[in-house]
Subunit: 221 residues, 2 copies
DNA sequence: CCACAGGCGAGAGCACTGCTCTTGAAATGT
DNA sequence: ACATTTCAAGAGCAGTGCTCTCGCCTGTGG
């Protein structure tokens, strides 16, 4: 039955995070204040502490939501297609589109880590979903190119553990190449979003497309 | 002669940024407060506003210093060698080593952009030095692999403008590949430093080395 | 060499933040 | 009907960025 008090409590938390998310989208993480969230919700600042332990915890809630949101976007983008390269293109494009549409949320996820945040258990769910979707394309690779072999046994073990967790039967070299490509993808998006290519690249669309193809080449898609 | 008042002024600014840098290295950008800098320097908080207009400007000074520091490290790393691949390895390793040694400075440069910061003119000097050093290895490429051709004329113009500014005679495709590899490099370092590979990679050294080689392959080094 | 404008440090103060504690009311479960 | 728990509210503490005013004092221009 979930006790109606507990339900009211969850509703309050939902209201709080919703308002917090609005402020995050508008002013960025630095401009998010518990007091102004309370003000906007018509309560006094101390009341909101009944529902959220601290500002950092509120940010953590937003991080979890944002991960889920991004994972949703990527999963929706790689719909029915089973061509690895098309998969990869869609996935990359959806990450970039989401980042451009939600710059502050993106910065929260992939910018400087928030001080009091330590990747709680709630985060690894959506995060796993996201990276699973991004790694998915290599399932359909045509294997045109052999990735370099892995020389470190512990790294190979890492890769095999991850592959097993995702239910993938590609080898360690391919999976590590995919993880590397994902890091490259987020590096590319971060460079664009955080302004590191200002005065360098003006046609961001074309540069992004070019790099996505290059990464697809490396992955043998 | 530079007026002894002006010299004293510069010395004060140097003291302030030095103390600010100490606090940045210890507590991170979020924990840097103008008041505590003033306290540590034995002055009252309003006095420091004579030398630094705002907290954001102080952070900007730190950003410029950090860029210079990182550029120094990379330039020192790619010493006399003229083998492109060795160059690239040293450059990548020096970026990663600097990032690990100065995580908060790295986060300041490549994490979420600080709100009131707009890449002032002072930044582009050290930043250009840094990226010039990182692009340098492709000068000595053996050209084993042809990068994909560029289809966007404006992107090609971007690349040629940058190449001209750096005095490079490599073609647009190679320069764009190099810029992409740089973005990949920082994506990789950020992933490691910001904890996105926690519970995934344990042998960060090996993973980094693997990716550096893959990028070198793509660059034809 | 000297007057003085300008740079200077100090202090008070404003508006804001995160967070804690107490108090009294209201809802709850027995 | 009652005891317990949950709650909103308010006051309050310590800290922040930043502004303004007030004298002092010193380097600089005449």
């Amino acid at each position: 039955m979930a006790g109606q008090r507990e339900r009211a409590r969850q509703a309050y938390i939902a209201d709080i995070t919703a308002e917090a998310r609005r402020q995050l989208a508008r002013d960025g993480a630095a401009g998010l204040s518990l007091r102004s969230v309370a003000r906007e919700l018509g309560m006094v600042s101390s009341a909101v502490y009944r529902y959220v332990a601290s500002r950092d915890e509120l940010l953590t809630l937003l991080i979890v939501e944002a991960y889920g949101d991004l994972a949703d976007a990527v999963e929706a983008a790689i719909g029915g297609d089973d061509d690895g390269r098309v998969h990869w293109r869609s996935a990359c494009a959806s990450v970039r589109a989401w980042a451009v549409a939600h710059p502050h949320e993106y910065a929260l996820l992939y910018g400087s880590p928030v001080p009091g945040y330590s990747a709680p258990q709630d985060t690894i769910g959506p995060a796993t979903r996201l990276y699973a979707a991004l790694v998915e394309p290599v399932r359909h690779r045509r294997g045109r190119r052999r990735p370099s072999t892995v020389t470190s046994p512990v790294l190979e073990a890492d890769a095999e553990r991850v592959a097993a967790a995702l239910g993938f039967d590609v080898g360690a070299p391919v999976l590590l190449a995919a993880l590397g490509a994902i890091a490259s993808l987020f590096g590319l998006v971060s460079f664009e979003l955080f302004g590191h290519t200002n005065n360098v690249i003006t046609d961001h669309d074309a540069f992004f497309a070019l790099r996505v193809e290059a990464l697809a080449d490396e992955l043998g898609l």
